[in-house]
Amino acid sequence: MRKKTFTLIDLVLSIVLMSSIIMMVYCVYTFFARQVPYNRERYDMLSQINYALEDMKVRLVSASQIDAGSLFSLTTTSFSDAKQKFKFFGEKDIYKITPNDTADDIWYEYRIDNKSLILETHGVAGATKEILVDSRYQPQVAFEWYEGYEPNFFTVVITAKGTTNPPVEISRTEGIRFWFVDVKQ
């Protein structure tokens, strides 16, 4: 009786096929393994940037005073002005807007601190810092005013860089409108 066994061809073929499968599975795995943190980081950065922009939008709209160092001005040669930080006096409770009563207002400042984008508040109880975009994403912020804008309007650009290789870079721009004050001198 002939005993059924694998031939050499069978074995070689099966090894080649198995290697191909393993290679494919490995490639798919590494692709996914790279994409998952890449997309998670992208989502995380977008969430933090959106949170920071939303925070600026709701706080800045009722600002009652802009710090002199944060006011925009144009020279005879430039048609725009940009600042890396922005300080203003605004409502402590952003849902209770009282433009005629500044007793309930506090100083706010958006700036980069220890590589993070923060909101610093200077209230009666002292200063507090809230991290809006954390330092691992190396955020950059620019408050910009261009010729043609209304005096009570500017744009904010926040850029963040991921930690993956190659790093993903995300930038979002938001238009901010003021109700009671102008930001352009």
Partner: protein, 286 residues
Amino acid sequence: MMIKQLKHKKKSFTLIEIVVSLVIMGIGLTAVTVTFFGGRFILKQAENKSRAISVATVKMEEHLAKTFSGLGGLEKPVLVDIGTDAGSEDKIPVDWKVSISTQWETNSKLGIKVPYKVIEVNTFYNEKSPNNQVTRKNVKLVNIVPYPYMHTESLHFEPETSGQSVPSGHFEAINSLSLSFNYPVAKDIMLIYNIAISIDDSTNIKSTDTIYTACRLDGEHNFRGTQTRTPISMQPFISNVVPIDNVSADKNHTLSIEWMKETDIPNAGIVRLKEANLMILSAERQ
């Protein structure tokens, strides 16, 4: 014999079985890969749309920051702003167009029409599908700016040389102390004015001599509101508030201030305009 052979035959995969199973696995893996790349495309689509919305929002906020009259716009949409937000390695370029139109809301109770501006921002971008087909995508944002309920007009006048002198015995318009306006809706108006006078010559002016001031709309025969009567020598400052209801829409109106002095001895003294403020507060007719 056959049964014995079958019993002793060791069961193993044939090449055909292996190839078929590989084909099935290949199809499965292809499906997974296609789904994954499809997911990436959907993510990219969401990111592109998010960027287009971001650009549209910036343009919308930029125009919402303008005043009602500063927005412009006619009955039909007028293209007021067009441009491109340049892309980069990771960002698609986005074209934008902003158009503004003026529309009307009818208040049937009062029988008046109130205008409002419609701002329409369109952003356009090209999107490449997985099979490299490019389609033009569009995001549209629409917002309105209501007609302001209150309007103010004001005027400050201070003569550079000697001011106009007050006529004696008859009313005369104070030059440069008039305001012209034309509102698209009917208004109730409150006119406020202050006039400071200087007495250049007090000859024959008695303590009972007075200056009258009054307000006239569109040269009408009758004055509007209350006339003031102020003692010349004791109160060199005149102020008055005149309410005028139902000033018609879409018509050029002019409010002017007139004055005269009434003295016991005709043409006594010389009284001149020193400084004046005129202000109109107008609210939508109620």
